[in-house]
Structure formats: C-alpha cells, structure tokens
C-alpha cells in the first residue's frame, strides 16, 4: 500500500535488487551436483586440450614440418620426457628449481609487503599520493628487464639483484591494483565504520584493507606472472643457477630437449604459483568466495 513510484525512483542502479533472492533460493539445492558436473567437464576439457597440443607437437616434430616455422631441430615430446627423467636425477637441476622458487618467494613476498601498505596509503591520503605517486608513475613504464644492468650496479650480490628484478615485476601490478581497490571502496562502508566509532588506524585495518582485498589479489595474480617473466629474463642475462639460466645454458650447449624441458618447468612452476595465490585469496576472503559461487 506504499507509494511504489517514489520507491522505484530512489532505487539506484547499484543497489542489489531484492527480487533476485527468490531465484537464488531456488537454485541453491542443485549447487553441489552442478559443481561435480562442472569439475568433471573441466577435467575432461583440460585433458583434451593438453592432449591435442601434445599431438600437434608430436606430429610436427615426427615429420619435421617446415612451413616457414621449422620443426627440424625441435625435440619430440618423448625426447623431452627422456631429458626430464635424466635431469630429475641430477642434483644441479633440482638446485636450479630451488633457486628460482626462492627468488620468486623473496621477490614476490617483498613486493606484497611493500606495495600493499604503500598502495593503501596512496589510495587513502590525497597529499601522500600527490607527493609519491608522480615519481612511481614515471618509473612504472620501465620494464623490469631494463633494470638488469642498473640492478647489478645497485645491489651488492648477483643474487640480490635478481631478487630485486623479480620484486619490480610484481611490485607495480600489486601497487596499482591496491590503489584502485582503495579508491573504489563504497563510501557507505567508511561512513558506517566511522559512526560505529572506528579510529583511522582501525578503519584502515578493518575496512580499507578488506574492502580492497579483491583488487589486491587481482594485482597479486598479475604480479606473480610478471615476477616470473622478470625472473627468467634476469636469470638468462646475469644468473648463476635458476631455471631461466638452465634453459639458456641448454641452448648454448645445444641440448635441444633441455630447452623444452626448461620451458615446461617454468610453465608448471608459474601455474603452481598462480594457483597458490588464488587459493590464498579464497582463504582470506571467505565472504567473497561465497559471492562468486552464487553468481553462477
């Protein structure tokens, strides 16, 4: 019996419609079965996709295809697998992997530790932003790889300079997304917190950070990828040890199968580390995980 015209007039487009709730409730019962089916098809399509890729690779190398791109010297999948069996038993190969993973952990970890608080501060405080951001913005377009010579001069050891390059790769995506996350916060949350008695520090910890987390994790997902790109490049140029160094060395020593093995290892490690970041995100943002699930 209320004036519905007034009601709809005040409903902004950003307000969640209460009407969607009924459809949500209706679909809730079939969610577990849906999920099992989705998982099954995901596995099938992944196997199919990888199988198809290996098949094309196998055929191209078996017949030594030359269609402008030349497969004459490219190792077959079998040869790469044999190389893997040989390398996995050699301690040096394991050392390469351990070194790369450690550099990623340090470089990426430091990037999170520095970029998140800095991004929160830049996003929240206008004056701090005006002071700090222009300098960061000027340095941002310089690719991490271009920092290699400078980094070698800057840092005392080769190891720290490689970690620094890795750090740079992850730093900017995380920073930019954190700033974006802070500026995108709905003002009503900030107001609500302040009327509930939150001090500025408490507000930063309990509202600004959690509200920006989805953006921060987007930045981290991009950042971990760029960190690998930067790391491999740095290892190829200046490294001793590391999977990038291994790949480059294989080329220098004309070990074709090892080149592909190095690439495959990089791909797998990159995939695993992105997966860890994604899982960490789900763990830290339980409320958001639910929201994403409901959207299907």
């Amino acid at each position: 019996m209320k004036n519905q015209t007034d009601l709809t007039a005040t409903l902004g487009p950003d307000l969640p419609s209460t009407l969607t709730l009924t459809s949500r409730a209706a679909t809730r019962s079939s969610v577990p079965r849906d999920r099992a089916r989705r998982l099954f098809w995901a596995l099938v399509s992944t196997a199919l996709s990888l199988g198809l890729f290996l098949l094309v690779w196998y055929i191209a190398t078996l017949y030594r295809v030359e269609l402008y791109v030349r497969f004459t010297n490219i190792p077959t999948p079998g040869a790469v697998f044999d190389a893997f069996i040989v390398q996995i038993q050699i301690p040096a190969f394991q050392t390469h992997i351990v070194n790369s993973v450690r550099r990623i952990a340090i470089g990426f970890g430091m990037a999170v530790i520095v970029a998140v608080p800095l991004g929160l501060a830049i996003g929240r405080y206008e004056r701090f932003r005006a002071l700090v951001y222009p300098a960061i913005d000027v340095l941002r377009p310089i690719p991490a790889i271009a920092w290699v010579p400078m980094s070698i001069m800057l840092w005392p050891t080769n190891e720290t300079s490689i970690c620094f390059i890795t750090f740079l790769g992850a730093f900017y995506p995380i920073l930019v997304n954190t700033i974006g996350g802070v500026t995108a916060i709905d003002a009503v949350y900030l107001r609500a917190a302040r009327t509930l008695g939150a001090s500025e520090m408490f507000l930063l910890r309990t509202v600004v950070l959690p509200a920006a987390l989805p953006h921060i994790f987007t930045g981290a997902t991009v950042g971990i990828g760029v960190a690998w790109v930067s790391l491999i490049a740095a290892e190829m140029i200046s490294g001793q040890f590391g999977i990038g160094y291994f790949t480059w060395e294989a080329y220098a020593l004309v070990q074709y199968a090892d080149i592909a093995l190095g690439m495959a290892t990089i791909g797998l490690l990159g995939f695993l580390s992105s997966e860890i970041v994604r899982r960490a995100g789900e763990l830290v943002m339980p409320g958001l995980a639910f929201r994403v699930q409901e959207r299907h």
Partner: protein, 315 residues
C-alpha cells in the same frame, strides 16, 4: 544502557560546492528531537533531509548555525550517534555476528564480551541462526534488520535513520516498520528518521517535520497524536488517515510550488502530484469498496505505471 539524548539543530545552513556550482542545501533549519522521542523528517527528493541527518551524524559541517547533542557541538562521527543507511552498509567481508560486533570491537571490548552481546541481540531479533551467514546470503529486509541491530550494539544515545526501508518491497517494508516501532518502544532511544513515505512517518513518529526543497527549509512541524504501542491495524483508523492526509496535502502543495524552481521540482513536479492524486482516488475507492488493508493488493505491489490500468479495473 546510556540515557537518550537531545538532538538539536538551530538555524543550520549548509552550502555545497563553490563558485558557479555553489548552492545552499539547508537554509536556517531548526529542529529538535527530545530525549526518547521518535521524530521523522519528510520532504521531496533533494530537499536536503538526508543532509540534516548527515550534519547530526558528523559527516557534514554547517557554515552557520549549530547542531548539538545534549548542547555539545557535533564535529565528527561517533558511536553515540548510530546511523542506519539507505544502502545496505553491512561489511560484506564479515559475517552477521562480526558485523554486529564491529562497533564494540572499535571500542576495544574483549572478544568474549562482544560475541556474547552480539549473539544476545541477534537472538532477541530472531536472527541467531544467521550469525554465521555473510551479508550476500541475506535478503534485503534481513540486511537492514542486522543493520539496525548493529546500530544498537554500541548502546547509542541517538539513532539516525536515512530512508532505511526505501530499498525494500512494500511487504517487507511494513514488517520492518512494525519491527522498528517494537524495538523503539523497548529502548525509548531518541530517533531521527528520514523518509519520503508519509505513512511510514506517521506510523512511526511522535512528531513529523515537513521540509521544502531548494533550499531545504523546515516547512512545518506536526505532532502525531496517535496511541502507542502501535500495530498494523493503526493504518486503517480514521485518525491515522487524517494525519496522512494533512501531510500529503502539504507535500502536494509544496510539490506544485516547486515546479521549475529546482532540479528536484523539475523531475518530480510533473508526475508527483498526479501520482499522489491517483493514489488517493484509488485509495478512496478501495476504502469505499471495503478493500481496506489488503496488503497484497496490486496497487501496493506493482509499479506506478500500472496504476491507471488497475484503476480502470476497479472502476
């Protein structure tokens, strides 16, 4: 439990923007909420009624005049003045219980004490089984119920409510109004309630302030002399309808005056009076036909565009 406070605004003027966009949002607004009183503020969209609330909340400063809580000037937001917002403002990253606990956490209350209090409040509202849910798993009405509970958790001296039910459907709305009036009768806290719904204002309030737009001014102050406790039957009584009619006429007259004078008048002036009139005709018809109190009637649940059709059918 803190005692209810006096909320007072004296000749408050608020100006937004600067240079060419500078305009007066509130023009010497004075109003008073006595301790334990439920006061509504009603007026057309853009009349500055939310600004009045924001001044009391401490979000907006007035350039002239004063806004005080128990004679102390309001300068910033604080837990003595809880706010329930029009938009859903529950933190989506916290579950219901942690949302209710938030204010106590900000005050440094220990985990055990605040959990006990939050659960007690939720239980009292019949929401205990939703304590672990996240806001996105709740309906709009439930979100606002939790929002009200969260506002009560810090034992505020004043409750400021900014069109808290305007995003809800008609059915949920009247349920929430009943709920609010029950809670209020229990706590007798001072409430300033902003709305554009005349019936809502009359149903809930001891007094109603009617505002005009551009610049926002208090047009009139009316006492609602209706008995308490109040329930849904009240809306069918002649006394209730008289109050509603009185305010409606005032608002309509104001709506006609507002045409072409302000952005609010330009958007509303064309269709608002018409809608109001239409609704009144429909209401009169329904009353005469003895259809009063049909909560699920199409008039209440469908949109304004369908009204003429409905009217034809009734006729």
């Amino acid at each position: 439990m803190n005692t209810a406070a006096t909320l007072e605004m004296n000749n408050a003027t608020v100006v937004f923007g600067s240079g060419a966009t500078r305009h007066t949002v509130l023009d010497r607004v004075s109003l008073l909420v006595r301790p334990g009183e439920f006061v509504s503020l009603i007026g057309p969209s853009g009349c500055g009624k939310s600004t009045v609330l924001n001044v009391f909340a401490g979000f907006v400063r007035c350039v002239a005049g004063t806004a005080t809580l128990d004679s102390r000037a309001i300068t910033r937001p604080g837990p003595d003045r809880s706010v329930v917002f029009q938009q859903y403002s529950l933190f989506p990253w916290l579950n219901v219980q942690r949302n209710v606990e938030y204010g106590l956490r900000a005050l440094g209350v220990s985990r055990r004490v605040r959990a006990a209090k939050a659960l007690r409040l939720l239980e009292h509202a019949g929401l205990a089984q939703y304590a672990d849910r996240y806001p996105d798993q709740l309906s709009g009405g439930m979100k606002q119920r939790v929002g009200i509970i969260r506002a009560f958790a810090t034992d505020p001296r004043v409750l400021l409510m900014d069109e808290p039910f305007s995003a809800l459907d008609a059915q949920t709305r009247s349920t929430m109004q009943q709920l609010l009036t029950n809670i209020w009768e229990e706590h007798r806290i001072s409430v300033l309630f902003v709305t554009h719904d005349v019936e809502e204002a009359v149903f809930l309030s001891d007094r109603v302030f009617v505002m005009s737009a551009a610049p926002g001014r208090v047009l009139r102050e009316l006492s609602v002399a209706l008995p308490r406790p109040r329930d849904a039957d009240l809306v069918d009584t002649a006394a209730f309808l008289e109050h509603v009619h009185e305010i409606r006429v005032l608002v309509r007259r104001e709506g006609l005056v507002g045409i072409g004078e302000s952005p609010a008048g330009a958007t509303h002036g064309e269709d608002l009076p018409e809608e109001l009139e239409l609704e009144q005709v429909l209401r009169a018809l329904l009353r005469r036909e003895g259809l009063v109190g049909i909560g699920e009637s199409p008039a209440g649940t469908t949109h304004g565009e369908d009204l003429p059709e409905e009217l034809e059918r009734v006729l």
